[in-house]
Symmetry: C2
Subunit: 335 residues, 2 copies
DNA sequence: CCTGGCATTGTAAGCGTTTACATTTTTATT
DNA sequence: AATAAAAATGTAAACGCTTACAATGCCAGG
């Protein structure tokens, strides 16, 4: 069933059918009705490829992320997909893993014109290497690139993010103000926002005259894991620190901290205060419940998609939209 | 830059370039090299739409699920994407929510020929209504439909699943054998596998002469939630039961059970044994850690994609592949 | 009744590939 | 060296749509 068949049955030309399908041009109401009826009757759906050839678009956005099963990224992907779908766009998902070998995957996606825009979620590679940055520059020639939780100043690149540096600065400050000066900072992915969080943490320490903050920082080098493995890692690498506070770049890492405390009969938060990040579902699964930073993911994804739609519609859009995170206090802290 | 430009620069015809791109036909090695070099040099990428027109395929599979941010579904989506990617297929993600209003979304996807196969993940709608079943029947005329964790006997529909009925039967039996006869069963989504789990639970109770199992079953009616809300639900609807065991259709629901116990000063597992399902990351986040059923998601997704690839290659493939789940014992049970 | 202008519809030329079939080149056989 | 067969390559016709431009139909104004 092609547009030609429909035109035959409706007694019009394929151009008229095309106009009805695309809604745009002026078609006499009675003709429109007649064609619509035939389309409805035969359940005709335009062939996507042929459509794409004419329109050079399939109303599809690419979503690129490291691991869509990560709690945080999964939520981001879901919100993005829903927002895109609500606006008539489909989502091509592309998971790269954490190995930065995404060259082929996403450049091909862009260059083949299969997508109208590319969304990079939790861009762990932005600012990491010049080579990776180059991919973004190349890609942005073809389609707009949207960064979620990363900033990169370049034409046709739009950023939507939480101000993680400030948020982490404030978070750390509130812990120090609560009387805790020995704070273990645990992080894993070296992403743009990860780097900002570290900066905020360090700045807070320095503002209180605590030197050599890197002494308190531990990099957890495993991609995915469970709380016990994280606890064991803390045990192995940070036991000598005698920290009374712990801030993690991610809720799961923080839960690992709580596990660690349990194994050493430390009471959370009396002996150890713990703060996570992302305010995920994990916060209410552990005991005590986890204080965590809400980084406004739903707001961010909404804004990002709206910006993308605006760009695609040819409107002038903000190159950068920044929102503020917020500390949600629960039982793992006493201040 | 089109295939024509490349053919010019390489001094061959477009057909030869096309053959090089598609790797298939016999091309003289020296010619292949020459063309490859030109393609490489100019960074040419074939136009996806035009390609789709010729091939009637873009090497893309549709992944349909209710909510890709759900812990279990997110993992499934990720595994599927990785497996598809490894085999040269891309993934079009489509999240339907739990409202069954997926008609438009996925039928359009199929009918427009944009995808080569459709994967339904955690098919909450299979067998629910005749209307929904009809969509699968209609769709399967066009592309193979792959069901993850659901069974549906129809031409061109292939199923890969965990034997949830038997697995839940065995799980329940082991709890009863441990001396617990008053078992609260908590479930939420009315999916195919959800129905099977219920059946397994009830069969186990009956096999031990425990009548009216539905007295012990509670349906948690909220889409997404957190552990506290689940605990409150149990408090509200099941307090009078005085159950010593709890089995949940999902880990999060089980964590809600642990929360409930904590609020009532019940010791898990002494006063209350809890078993979850899916063996997710949550199992090691709570205290005590959660005994849960591993339903072999990675195996299932692997098998599913391999089956799809086989079908697309025109091979004869099993219509149904069933694997067995396995109980992973942790601290929330004593038996 | 004629004419110009506008609304509507039709015609046909792409869009960039794939691939059946035709043609040319190479290789093997005698 | 001639010839048949096989291999490599080229030609051109789809694929199903969009859209610029052409053609038609219709109306009001003169």
């Amino acid at each position: 069933m092609t547009i030609y068949d429909i035109s035959q049955k409706a007694g019009v030309s394929i151009a008229t059918v095309s106009r009805v399908i695309n809604g745009s041009d002026k078609v006499k109401p009675s003709t429109r009705q007649k064609v619509s009826d035939v389309i409805e009757k035969y359940g005709y759906t335009p062939n996507a490829f042929a459509r794409g050839m004419g329109l050079q678009s399939l109303h599809t956005a690419g979503i690129l992320c490291a691991d869509s099963s990560d709690l945080f990224l999964a939520k981001a992907v879901f919100y993005l997909e829903q927002e895109l779908q609500a606006n008539g766009y489909e989502s091509l998902l592309c998971c790269t893993g954490y190995n930065l070998d995404l060259k082929k995957n996403y450049l091909d996606l862009i260059l083949s014109k299969k997508i109208d825009g590319l969304i990079l979620v939790g861009s762990h590679f932005i600012g990491t290497t010049e080579e990776e940055n180059q991919y973004i520059k190349d890609g942005s020639d073809r389609v707009p690139i949207m960064l979620l939780n990363a900033a990169f100043d370049y034409p046709n690149v739009y950023c939507t993010l939480c101000d993680d540096e400030t948020t982490m600065f404030e978070t750390t400050k509130s812990m120090i103000s609560g009387g805790i000066r020995d704070i273990l900072y645990l992080y894993n992915i070296r992403s743009y926002s990860g780097i900002k969080k570290i900066a905020g943490f360090q700045r807070a320490l320095q503002s209180f005259g605590i030197d050599e903050p890197q002494n308190y920082m531990r990099y957890y080098p495993y991609d995915s894991s469970d709380a016990n493995r994280i606890a064991a890692f803390i045990e192995k690498t940070a036991k000598e620190l005698h920290f009374q506070g712990m801030i993690a770049a991610d809720d799961l890492l923080a839960v690992g901290g709580i596990k660690y405390a349990q194994k050493h009969n430390l009471i959370v938060p009396k002996d150890l205060s713990v703060i996570g990040y992302n305010n995920s579902i994990l916060t209410t699964c552990c005991t005590p419940e986890l204080t965590s930073v809400d980084n406004r993911l739903e707001t961010l994804t909404h804004q990002l998609v709206q910006t993308l739609l605006g760009v695609l519609a040819g409107e002038e859009m903000p190159k950068m939209s920044v929102f503020s995170g917020k500390l949600i206090k629960r039982g793992s802290t006493y201040f």
